[in-house]
């Protein structure tokens, strides 16, 4: 197959962009200066930081981060509000940017008081700039929600439907409704948006959060004069929550609207996952706040090369391909069986698989201690744990006190939970291998039916220590 440059252009409810990578409505899209630089860096679209009639007043400080054992900003939250610039300045800059970047998607995020005429007014003013579409911010969980806006609307399906319909009464460009994850089932609000006439859905907005406590001052983080407030949580740590919500909207039979996926995207792989689970475009914020606009280059290149490798010529070739692969637990195949296998030639003898299984999972890894002599005999010199000498002393990594721990899976009790393979630091050292379970292929739903009819034997519980 000839390898050519895949087409990564996007079209979401009529809004076109040269690639599916948009900037989310957030600090990186606060001004014309920034959006220009973003487009020059390669971003396909930008959702302008939420406009309103009167600029808001912000506090200082505003952001907090979650670090994890040396890695910075796995999660980020903020208590910053929507735009603090005047509507006139914003509209002027939106107009100029759109004029200079006709092929890029310029979407404007909106949030005003829940009054019909107020919404009508801003929609008309904003669309006059020539922007490509609108995004209704029904998700912001802090500050604005206390004033009856943002997630205060998005948490009530009736409000969502009502305000969406007001906007649709006058809007000429496509309207995306941005949903909050701070609800029990996002589909109810998604259906309300659909009823209100939304053209597409954006999700997720940020999650209610307290980032932590300063252990010196005992103030919450981020702090404002020693006090804090719940803020909106985002960043790589929220991706799985976002993926779940995107898929549930994509799979919903009532909604059937295109999706702009948001939540923790920092690498091209994240973006592809959103596309596979039903998104048409993706929006990024935290990773840009962390590293700058330049990250889009590696996202585009990663997406293109993955598509090339998989033989996809355009995004629609794979978009949504994983949506139908997610379903109820009750429909999963009970006869499917995998067990872990450890490649002894790759093992570095850290014991992490063993202790994870022993204390945290299903006690199915055997630890055997052998002498260095025996180990050297088994391994030879070479492989990961090679035998070295220094000053006449023998050194073997993974060995101490003259002995080496060897780890093996107890094949008869391994339940195939994956845990050991998840904690193993070596690539492809622990793999999950398919095994014959001896059971007929059936789901739990089918099993309970067959069991009731006496067509199958009861599945015996696994052996525990």
């Amino acid at each position: 197959m000839t390898i050519r440059k895949p087409d990564i252009s996007s079209n979401i409810c009529g809004i076109k962009s040269p690639n599916p990578f948009w900037l989310a409505s957030a600090p990186p899209t606060n001004s014309g200066y920034q959006v220009r630089r973003a487009f020059e860096a390669g971003w396909g679209g930008a959702v302008w930081k939420t406009l309103t009639h009167e600029p808001i007043v912000n506090v200082s400080s505003r952001y907090g981060a979650v670090d994890y054992d040396g890695r910075k900003v796995l999660g980020l939250n903020n208590i910053e509000l929507i735009t603090d610039r005047t509507l006139d300045v914003n509209l002027k800059e939106v107009r100029e940017v759109k004029k200079d970047f006709p092929n890029h998607a310029v979407i404007v995020s909106l949030m005003v008081d829940s009054k019909r005429e107020v919404w009508h007014d801003i929609v008309k003013k904003v669309e006059d700039t020539g922007c490509d579409g609108l995004e209704l911010n029904f998700g912001c969980p802090h500050g604005m929600s206390e004033r009856g806006m943002g997630s205060a609307v998005g948490q009530v399906p009736e409000y969502t439907e009502m305000v969406t319909s007001w906007v649709k009464e006058v809007a000429k460009t496509p309207v995306l409704v941005k949903l909050t994850p701070n609800i029990t089932d996002v589909r109810h609000v998604g259906r309300a948006a659909k009823r209100g006439g939304a053209d597409g859905i954006s999700l997720i907005n940020t999650i209610n959060s307290i980032m932590g406590v300063d252990l010196n001052t005992l103030a919450p983080r981020p702090q404002v004069a020693g006090r804090g407030s719940h803020g909106g949580y985002c960043g790589p740590a929220v991706k799985p929550i976002a993926l779940n919500m995107v898929q549930s909207i994509a799979a919903d039979k009532e909604i059937q609207l295109p999706i702009s996926g948001i939540g923790g995207i920092q690498a091209w792989q994240d973006a592809v996952e959103f596309l596979l689970l039903g998104a048409t475009t993706v929006q990024v914020c935290t990773a840009v706040m962390h590293y700058g606009y330049r990250i889009v280059e590696t996202m585009i290149s990663g997406l293109e090369n993955w598509m090339r490798e998989k033989g996809y010529a355009k995004i629609s070739d794979f978009q949504g391909a994983t949506v139908a692969k997610v379903g109820d637990w009750a429909d999963l195949d009970l006869s499917y069986k995998v067990v872990a296998e450890i490649d002894q030639n790759k093992c570095i003898h850290c014991g992490l698989c063993y202790i994870a299984c022993e204390d945290g999972a299903h006690q199915s890894i055997r630890m055997t201690t052998i002498t260095e002599e025996e180990f050297a005999k088994r391994n030879g010199n070479g492989g990961p744990a090679s035998v070295e000498f220094s000053g006449g002393k023998r050194v073997i990594s993974g060995s101490g006190d003259g002995r080496v721990n060897i780890f093996e899976i107890k094949q008869d009790t391994c339940v195939g939970c994956n845990m050991c393979s998840l904690v193993c630091p070596v690539s492809n050292c622990i793999t999950m291998v398919e095994r014959e379970s001896g059971l007929p292929k059936m789901s739990w739903r089918q099993y309970t039916e067959k069991l009731a009819k006496g067509e199958v034997e009861k599945i015996q519980p696994p052996v525990h220590v």
Binding site: I348, G351, L352, A385, S390, G391, V395, S397, S399
Partner: protein, 445 residues
């Protein structure tokens, strides 16, 4: 040969820390590399079995004091070992990251970060135990003796330590290159140990009769007497001014200010162990123009660790392999060179025989020669004590308890190992202290 020609400032720079301490951020980044292994190889490889993953995780989680407590609980010389341990053949050699990333976690430097942090704040982790009424004599205030004494004080026994030198700490204080362990640091690490209520008697050598007296007057005795003088070459000219013993050469950088240290213009170090590297690298730091390490065997057989060899090479030290010294040459009453015989190795490894290469004699001109040949055991002293056995230069003890053949007499450190690391001495002191504790407690019953 004369005093160093270098100025104080240059000398201070030359003898500055080999590895400066980590900052907090450097330590956390390095700590984050640790996989937190289960039944960790590094911990098993450490002779004192410091819980390495635990102390590294404590650094990672911004608890350097807790980390230091973890370290000192296993090894009261944790700061010294952080500086001088051959980590490449101990904890870091065992590190699984060496297999995966070809680079071990820098355990030694992390250990130093934690121990220095606590030391700078003068944190005290241990208390003397409730007085047991038992008293133990310790001979030798080196790492073995003081580790033993510290452990015994934790158990509540009264401890008197007899030290022949006028400075405590043994080779840990004065026997390791000063750019690795400074005298000042070594003495500061002894402070909390001595504060446990150890009665330290300096300049108090103990002879065989003395040992017998101690056995009478104390409930138990621990011998941590180390080793004695450097081995002799027994070749002509060995008494020529300018011929030094290796440890004396290192001592001077600890006992006097650097600008009082003597060094030659051309220095020849004989031997290729770790002390030889210490001597050679110190000679360079003191301003020697040319330093040569001469060794009878080849690089393959040298007993200096690879890491030490790299240090020496980085210092521009020359190596003369297969060179067996035959005579120290004298001119006007001073050393002017060392005559060597080129030898070939016949056979394999360290058992190989040395065979002179015909016509292969040559002279290396020098004004200082340092014999770094390892130390001799105190055989005479030890064998004068009835019941003690010395074999191949080692005082024989039960390795599980440190017990000698004499009831109540225990030993550890270089006198039982014929020269090992600080960390080995610390562990042997600990092991003996536990056995002594059992012994003195059972004695009263």
């Amino acid at each position: 040969m004369a005093k160093t020609q270098l100025g104080q400032e240059q000398l201070e720079e030359n003898f500055a820390d080999l590895h400066p301490n980590y900052t907090r951020d450097e330590a956390v980044v390095e700590a984050s590399r640790c996989l937190f292994c289960f039944d960790a190889p590094c911990t098993r490889a450490c002779p004192t079995h410091i819980d390495v993953p635990k102390f590294i995780r404590q650094i990672l989680h911004d608890n350097p004091i807790g980390s230091a407590e973890t370290i000192f609980s296993s090894n009261i010389f944790g700061g010294s070992c952080a500086r001088a341990c051959p980590t490449e053949v101990l904890c870091e050699g065992a590190c699984v990251d060496r297999a995966m990333l070809k680079e071990p976690v820098q355990i030694g430097r992390l250990q130093r970060y934690a121990t220095d942090y606590a030391a700078a704040r003068e944190i005290r982790f241990f208390e003397p135990g409730k007085d047991t009424g038992k008293k133990v004599a310790v001979v030798g205030a080196g790492p073995a003796g003081l580790s033993c004494a510290h452990e015994l004080r934790k158990a509540g026994h009264a401890v008197t330590v007899f030290e022949a030198r006028d400075i405590p700490g043994g080779l840990n204080t004065i026997g390791i290159a000063a750019y690795k362990i400074s005298t000042e640091f070594a003495l500061s690490e002894l402070k909390p140990i001595l504060e446990m209520g150890i009665d330290l008697k300096l300049s108090s050598p103990v002879n065989a009769a003395g040992i017998a007296d101690l056995l009478k007057n104390y409930d138990a005795v621990f011998l941590g007497i180390g080793l004695g003088a450097t081995s002799r070459l027994e070749i002509p000219g060995e008494e020529t001014p300018g011929v030094w013993e290796g440890l004396d050469f290192v001592f001077q950088s600890h006992t006097g200010p650097y600008d009082e240290c003597e060094v030659g213009k051309h220095v020849v170090v004989i031997g290729a162990g770790n002390t030889a590297v210490d001597c050679a690298t110190e000679a360079v730091r003191l301003g020697a123009e040319k330093v040569t390490i001469a060794y009878r065997r080849s690089q393959k057989e040298m007993t200096a660790y690879d890491y030490e060899y790299e240090l020496a090479k980085a210092d521009g030290i020359h190596f003369e392999w297969h060179a067996s010294p035959v005579q120290f040459l004298e001119k006007d009453g001073r050393l002017c060179g060392v005559k060597f015989q080129r030898v070939a190795l016949v056979g394999e490894g360290r058992e190989a025989k040395l065979q002179p290469v015909p016509g292969g004699d040559f002279v290396i001109e020098c004004d200082m020669a340092v014999k770094a040949l390892g130390q001799l055991p105190f055989t005479e002293l030890l064998t004068a004590v009835k019941g003690l056995k010395v074999e191949k230069g080692r005082l024989i003890v039960d390795r599980k308890t440190g017990a000698t053949g004499v009831a109540g007499l225990y030993a550890g450190g270089d006198c039982i190992s014929k020269g090992a690391e600080i960390v080995n001495a610390v562990q042997e002191g600990k092991i003996a202290a536990w056995a002594i504790n059992d012994y003195v407690k059972s004695k009263g019953k």
